[in-house]
Symmetry: C2
Subunit: 496 residues, 2 copies
């Protein structure tokens, strides 16, 4: 029986996310193994607790005094990073009895390989016997920026409010790195691998209880205890949950079996789980990240988002954007006559359209020293005619007006509007040609916008798909039907 | 009646794509208008023909001698760029009688605005009367790198074999710029705007006849003569056609009406058109570009592509990739026992999977000085067990092995395999965290790979969707059913 069964997940996994001391089992005295790299990452990330390398013979590892065995510890450590051969893992856990709270086992060679289940059973038995919770095996580590703990590089130290449970180590790294570039900031990420002992649901529960976390993301291939995950998600009524489910097709399921040894349930069960808990299912890594970003930036509204106004430069882009929002289940309604009249009074140039989508040549945005865009924001912001405004900017075109910082003015105006309580959801699409000069500007403006709570997307289609996740959560909370990607979602539709 | 009705499209539009001389109507003597910018773009792009500014009073425009009127020309010019107020356009065309072959009218204020249809009718009447073909109005220009003609900057001089007909000027620029960054190379691009005289179908016909063009892309919101487009596409049996259709939803249709004045037909008609002509419908700009890249690089096979092998580093990515290919209608089949045995004999490390997806830790690829990957290519390439191999590389992980150019070795091996006649389609997915150092490498390797005929994608999901377009063309040509995005496509399914 799990030793912490009667404690909260917050208490159970505080040693994982906020370890006061860390043991490292499997660092090498003569070469650079995963354990060595972990110690280097800890130091580089600024970890302030005690690091205790465990080695059968070496005096020092990575310039730190080593101990022979977990059994030699004078006081218990919170967390151990274990990366030794699979058949040595049970012994390591046994030596940690009374000395260790949470072990994360990186080693592979357990349930994910043919004939490895017996080894995984031994691991679990040893952990239970020693009173240690085990994360993994077959994973990569934990990332907890507030505690200055990480298992990889290029992740950034900035803590945030997105908590991630990830069954794939490599994908966990991708989530941290690609996510960081998009402005996502994490409270924590745990790679959970085969989930032999600690389940994905338990970590979800931790994030649900933690004050550091507002949004939860889950990459999972299969769960042993689907009921527990369902109950956990069902009980979590305040924090949006985004699920990237690997193995939703027959061929993906076959791949998952050899990846994490998961016996992957039918896709129907996952669709039902999302429907009944208000979780958002994403289909790709990029959609997962974009949807998490939406929830990092925007607070779900009481009334589900439906009416979207598009504003930007580019007629074809406006047409394709209208298609994308329409496909994602939104309305792009013609604006009421009084709003059209107010916009018309702003004297937009020939080639502009003010009905929605509002489309104006880039040059027009220079008018009156850049005051046109703030005026448009004023007119539409207070109109009550929309639930979300999506501003799309063709960066390359806008940047070609070199004598004025039109892009800066646009982003500044959006930030001011947001700060002044612009009522509808506000999102920005920065469309780039991918060239380094434009991408550099995009990084700058993205950082500023996301810090101010305005999500940034690369294209209108991804904005539409991600905002559909927001609407789904809003609709679920309102007890209404939502719809995403053609799938109808209703709180009331029962059937497990 | 169109004056070139009895000539081929190739002859009719040679003056548009390969003008020996260009008149510019609407360049300013005192400020910088669209006409001035066009002259500057022509010069910067290296246009070698005669440029003739037309101005009612100025002696010189952009350092070139100006003439008063097209009527003053001593000999006919091939192409005129016309950017004057809408109501002045008919007079300009009348003055070009006998002096001008093709005019492109950039001016807006015609059929795309309320009450503008009469002006558009006058334009067409004047053009017919003067014996001049008119492209536009409400467009931006023509890009023809072999003739060193362009209407914008940041497009690159390298000519290629993709011809584009684009009803939106801004989107045309996006296609050139974003497309260039992805490795697309163009034979030409024409923005056709309202298509008052010259239809999209006529330019498609030009590209179908032109030896410079192998692949045709079409962005269109609406066509006046759908039958002609259908017949043109139907008659074109050799060049793949990719269509990005704006206004496929009700809300997109409303936006299109105020953009190009298009009366957009039902989406059903477009699905039917694609089904009956073997054209590929793309839903987003990015999918459009990726699909064009596939056809630039890969030659449709006689037997439709179905069996895909995935190879790369990243277990979760392999699972999600299997899902993506499965959703796009491909098989990711378990490899035959003899191939599995041959791969097993290569002694991939623990954590590898060789069944398909083939998944191996990045570090393994260093083995034997990087010879592992070429051996894998050898084993699968000649096996006859697959139609396409998709190699996905987590660049950030691979680049972290700093003492060896693992990424370079991987790309080189793929290029060698392709050069040595690797039988299945070969595609590369370079997955990046978006940071500048990784993106720079990606640009380098992308350029090399695409030049060698290997398409590069950002993610497995976009590779899957784009290769589905290839399969659709293969299936259409084989007279078989294809399937893309859940839509079944069959040559034999009639019904217009």
């Amino acid at each position: 029986m799990p030793p912490f069964a009667n404690t909260s997940a917050l208490e159970s996994f505080r040693p994982l996310f906020h370890p006061r001391s860390i043991a490292v089992v499997g660092a090498s005295a003569s070469s650079v193994s995963g354990g060595n790299r972990f110690i280097r990452h800890l130091k580089a990330f600024g970890y302030q607790g005690r690091i205790l390398p465990v080695h059968p013979s070496a005096e020092r590892i990575e310039d730190l005094p080593a101990i022979r065995s977990l059994a030699d510890l004078d006081e218990p450590v919170d967390y151990a990073y274990v990366a030794v051969a699979a058949d040595a893992v049970p012994g390591v856990l046994a030596s940690g009895r009374g000395k260790l709270r949470v072990a994360q086992v990186m080693s592979s060679g357990f349930g994910e390989i043919d004939g490895g289940q017996a080894m995984e059973d031994r691991l679990v038995a040893a952990a239970r016997e020693a009173g240690i919770r085990v994360v993994g095996p077959n994973c990569l580590g934990v990332h907890s920026p507030r505690a200055r703990v990480t298992f990889t590089e290029r992740t950034g130290p900035e803590p945030g409010r997105i908590g991630i449970v990830c069954q794939s180590g490599g994908l966990g790294i991708d989530i941290l790195r690609r996510g960081r570039g998009r402005g996502l900031r994490f409270s924590g990420l745990v790679t959970v691998g085969n989930c032999a002992d600690v389940s994905a649901a338990e970590i979800v529960q931790y994030f649900a209880e933690s004050d550091d976390t507002d949004v939860i993301g889950l990459y999972v291939e299969g769960v042993r205890d689907g009921r527990r995950l369902f109950e956990t998600l069902r009980a979590n009524s305040t924090k949006p949950v985004v699920i990237l489910k690997g193995g939703r097709t027959d061929q993906g399921r076959a791949a998952a079996a050899s990846h994490t040894g998961s016996l992957v349930g039918s896709d129907h069960a996952w669709v039902a789980l999302a429907r009944q808990t208000g979780a958002v299912l994403a289909d790709t890594l990029d959609a997962f990240l974009d949807t998490l970003l939406v929830f990092q930036c925007l607070t779900p509204a009481a009334v589900p988002t439906r009416r979207v106004v598009l504003f930007g430069n580019g007629g074809g882009t406006s047409v394709l954007g209208s298609d994308a929002f329409s496909r994602a289940g939104f309305d792009v309604p013609r604006l009421p006559d009084d709003i059209v009249a107010a916009l018309t009074a702003l004297e937009l140039p020939a080639g502009s359209s003010v009905r929605n989508p509002i489309d104006t040549p880039a040059g027009a945005l220079q008018k009156d020293e850049g005051r046109l865009f703030p005026r448009i924001l004023d007119v539409v912001g207070g109109s009550g005619a929309l639930d979300a405004l999506v501003v799309h900017i063709n960066m390359t075109v806008v940047l070609s007006f070199r004598h004025v910082d039109m892009l800066g003015n646009l982003v500044d105006a959006a930030l001011r509007a947001k700060a002044d309580g612009f009522a509808p959801h506000l999102a920005l699409v920065l469309r780039s040609d991918g060239e380094p000069d434009v991408e550099e500007k995009k990084r700058d403006y993205r950082a500023r916008a996301v810090a101010a709570g305005i999500p940034i997307f690369d294209e209108l289609a991804s904005a539409a798909a991600s905002l559909a996740g927001l609407r789904l959560v809003e609709a679920f909370r309102a007890g209404l039907d939502g719809q995403i990607g053609g799938r109808t979602v209703s709180r009331r539709s029962a059937a497990p």
